[in-house]
Symmetry: C2
Subunit: 453 residues, 2 copies
């Protein structure tokens, strides 16, 4: 048995700055528009929603953004996160490929999400905010913000998509144990929620609805702001610690990836790993490939339109240009809640549109099979979301076996699956099936995209 190898950085290698890809984009991005006027938003427009520092980061083109010391002090609890060479998986696959994975499941919440939750909580606290509202689907993000709330003494209110609120009691218990308030969405606490419940009293909710509720509650009180766990520029910025660390860890391994792979829901874990490697590619003229993996049942990058759309169902958020399946699209109930979002990060969308990354989709059964194969080789059971990146990695490693090429593959193992055992139970019992999006429903949702922008 040739064993898997860990590459661990000393604490002094914890990044001091995040990397802002806006400084290096070959073409500028389309502006964010005000939902009412459809004119470019100003910082003042966003002030009721986000703290000033976050708004500045959202709009910044500064290449290096300093990570505040108190944020680094918390990061240090689990960062630098380990990177592994998956030698046992390579052997199981009999591939000449060199497989590396960055493991973000070592955070106390079990995923990459605290990288931005800690930062957002810090900026809110620094500006006197007392309470943060947010939404959560599978619960990874809500758990991470709950955690950040304990570190910075903030009240956290989480609108949890009803189907997860009922079906994932353990995630909810984790948040509540850390002192966060969890509300099933749609709820009767907001106009957006009441409007949905009036038409659909049994609504199981969606991320789009939960975002509407959280934003609505945030703007009602001066001491409250809203936090988003993916999609926006500042969130992707905070996640770049993973890619920056991985660059150094690959140098320790005396290697460099030919392929960089991540799963994409809103896009933040993929961006966090990929963006620092994109900068290297552009600066050094490399030919690294980037694969963004999404579920076939929510194929935003592979089947969506590149258009202006809202981030939420009630259309309270600004309009962003992105790949979207339409803000009215409700994906089928597959077991990777973190990937069930109608849109995609504008930065990822922009880069995909320009051909800088290759989107790809897989269905859930093959992803679970890949995740279990990984677990049996490497001992870590991935979250269902991360299984998508594992599947693409195994697929590419299989191509290397056929061609005899020894490519280096790096993927983001963005979280463990300890809170997702029901999904594995269902998979093991043969109860899961492949789900595909409904062409007609997507066409209808896309037909409803906002016009005039």
């Amino acid at each position: 048995m040739s064993d898997s190898v860990k590459f661990l950085l000393d604490e002094e290698h914890l990044p001091t700055h995040w990397y802002n890809i806006n400084a290096d984009l070959p073409e500028p991005m389309a502006p964010v528009l005000h939902p009412g006027t459809k004119e470019p938003v100003t910082p003042d427009d966003l002030a009721p929603i986000f703290p000033r520092a976050v708004i500045e980061q959202e709009m910044s083109t500064e290449r290096e953004v300093e990570i505040p010391q108190p944020v680094r002090d918390v990061y240090r609890q689990w960062r630098p996160a380990p990177m592994f060479r998956a030698r046992r998986l390579e052997q199981a696959l009999q591939t000449p490929a060199r497989i590396y994975y960055k493991y973000e499941g070592v955070s106390p919440a079990g995923s990459h999400k605290p990288n931005t939750a800690i930062a957002q909580a810090f900026y809110n606290k620094a500006e006197g905010v007392k309470r943060i509202t947010t939404e959560t689907g599978a619960g990874q993000w809500g758990s991470s913000l709950a955690l950040a709330g304990t570190f910075f003494g903030l009240e956290i209110v989480v609108f949890m998509v009803r189907v997860s609120f009922d079906g994932k009691p353990y995630r909810r218990a984790y948040m509540e144990t850390l002192g966060a308030q969890c509300i099933a969405s749609p709820s009767d606490q907001t106009e957006s929620g009441r409007a949905i419940l009036a038409g659909h009293p049994d609504s199981t909710g969606s991320l789009g609805i939960a975002i509407s509720e959280a934003v609505e509650m945030a703007v009602q009180r001066d001491d409250t702001r809203y936090a988003l766990g993916s999609v926006l520029n500042h969130v992707l910025l905070h996640q770049t610690v993973t890619g920056l660390e991985s660059l150094e860890q690959l140098a320790m391994a005396d290697d460099y990836p030919d392929l960089v792979i991540g799963c994409t829901g809103g896009g933040s874990n993929f961006a966090g790993l990929a963006f620092p490697f994109l900068r290297e590619k552009w600066q050094r003229g490399l030919d690294t490939e980037f694969i963004a993996v999404e579920p076939s049942a929510c194929p935003t990058l592979t089947k969506g339109a590149f258009a202006y759309d809202y981030g939420d169902t009630a259309h309270l958020t600004p309009l962003v240009k992105m790949y979207t399946l339409g803000s009215g699209f409700v994906p089928p109930g597959f077991h990777a809640g973190g990937l069930r979002y109608h849109g995609m990060a504008p930065q990822i969308s922009h880069l995909a549109k320009q051909g800088h990354l290759a989107p790809r989709s897989y269905n859930q059964l093959e992803c679970f099979a890949a995740g279990i194969q990984f677990a049996k080789a490497e001992g870590i059971l991935p979250a269902p979301e991360a299984n998508h990146a594992v599947k693409a990695t195994i697929h590419e490693a299989g191509k290397c076996r056929e061609s005899g090429e020894s490519k280096a593959i790096l993927f983001n193992l963005c979280g463990h699956g300890h809170f997702d055992m029901q999904a594995y139970i269902d998979y093991n019992a043969g109860k899961l099936e492949d789900l595909v999006y409904d062409d007609a429903e997507v066409a209808m949702a896309l037909a409803g995209l906002p016009s005039g922008c």
Copy 2:
């Protein structure tokens, strides 16, 4: 906010040897007896149960036992494990105490148990064993052996106490996903199981019964051996990596503990942390104190008898001299399954009897409250077992606040609580109550202790 500090060792500081406390015991331990003859067991007596290398370790008085390279190669995936100074907890408690915790939840199974599971799997594999049987209560141990099975290509059969098999489907799913076979105990697959079922068709099982079943199945086939997750000398030996690492990490912190604290079920996580510090105490004439914390509902060290007893219900195991509540004692159903065992490691029992460590018990409500206080300060939600060590630590830190003394306290945070969220749900909902052992039942069980040895 003064942040918590992590002490992380480089990989070259991964211990090369385990520490065997048998070499340094001030008085020799009582011999292990054959259950039939009641004469001291020989290695041959144990050969149908354990591989030779493990039997040698069980009986060894060699001070340093080399950790085989393949075991170190697997350890390296998560070891050296971090030690933290809990500055945020110190602040929350307003204590002058310096609180350190060794965190074993970073292993892929989420607890300290893989430290011995990996070693035992290696030794079995090296001697040609194809299949290992074991028992599990809460599931931490079964999960760890399942993990070790994937690393070394061994078939793993886990007899899971019926009440956990039914009530902890996520733990079971974790083991099954890694390829282990889980059987609810008592089962119809063994004589011991059938005997119990004949009398009690609805039996919810116990660790003692599950051990009987696993041992019985192991001795039936030449290619099968049995593995135990705590209690025995070799298990405690393998756990000493935690204490050996902690010694080096405290040197990094330029500190040394006045108090060393761990929870005790079978005793292995406590021993792993404490034994290397006991050696230091004896060698250097220090006055370090050692606190072994157990649940009030299963008060082996604080209320049991120091006597020869069986490790299992069907009396298939050898007789060991230990603190015991009687092998017929079934503890009430509190939420720390790993601490529900009638006996205690003979080494721990011996040291407690001689006054080298101070046993203490707490009830479950105060332990959950302490665990949640810890989670809110440090961000890590402990397993219910570990909450007992947290409670004692907070208690001692409170005494420092009152006295003004700045003691250094080190405790073993032996696992995270991600698989134990139902316990937290019940606690948060006010559904848990303090349970105490039944004096009369214990007296009856103790009256049934084996005689003539």
